[in-house]
């Protein structure tokens, strides 16, 4: 019996635990402030920026800075397509984990 191929729902970029933590934080909310993600994931500003850039290049997230104000915040959110991909990725992981527990 041939071995089943890799699950196509898995997003290669999210197989990295740090990026998965970022995605998990973003999928739990509509929009999240940059500082909230940084504190939750435990990264420096520059390390988080780098990870977000990789996710943005893949079209999974988008970020923007408030246009006005002395303490302008940066916000991050999953794109519509990114939200679908992350949700599918998490669902696939859940199924894999459930399958592992059964066997």
């Amino acid at each position: 019996m041939p071995e089943p191929g890799p699950d196509t729902r898995l997003v290669p970029l999210l197989l990295d635990p740090t990026r998965l933590r970022i995605a998990a934080t973003l999928v739990a909310a509509g929009e999240v402030e940059f500082g909230f993600v940084r504190d939750r994931v435990g990264l420096s500003d520059s390390a988080l920026s780098k990870q977000l850039k990789a996710l943005a290049t893949a079209g999974l997230v988008e970020s923007w800075r408030e246009p006005t104000g002395s303490a302008r915040k940066s916000w991050v959110r999953l794109t519509g397509d990114g939200r679908e991909q992350v949700s599918a990725h998490i669902l696939a992981l859940r199924e894999i984990a459930a399958g592992g527990e059964r066997s």
Partner: protein
Amino acid sequence: MAEVDAARRAVDTAHRRNVPIMLAATSVLTFLDFAAKDEITGPRRRMVASAVIQAALLGLSLLDVRGSQVVPYAPGDGPQPALAGKIAGVGLGWYAAERVAVHLIRRSRLTRPNTVAGLVLAVSRPAGYLAVTRMLPRAGRDA
């Protein structure tokens, strides 16, 4: 998968942090807004007191929005007239019910009708806020 659940809890905690303070402030300021009408003589002074209290309410709401680090609600894919209509219907129905209650209380023979109306609204306003926010779809509940 524990990470996904932990992220959800963290977002919920961050979102709920200020909710009790905001509900309490709304309740107290709403009561004061109405109770002041029984204590202050002269329509002009009453209007000034009401304007100050409502400005404080607005300022607190803006501070709450400004201080929040998360928006827990799911971004819509486009206009959602059914949901918007439902929320507007509940909001307007709630407001109409409040006005009727205030009107009936003011027409009663109570010695301090506005104070009583303030007590009623001090409960119903925060309850209405909670009811409406619970109707908004939350992000990531299906992940």
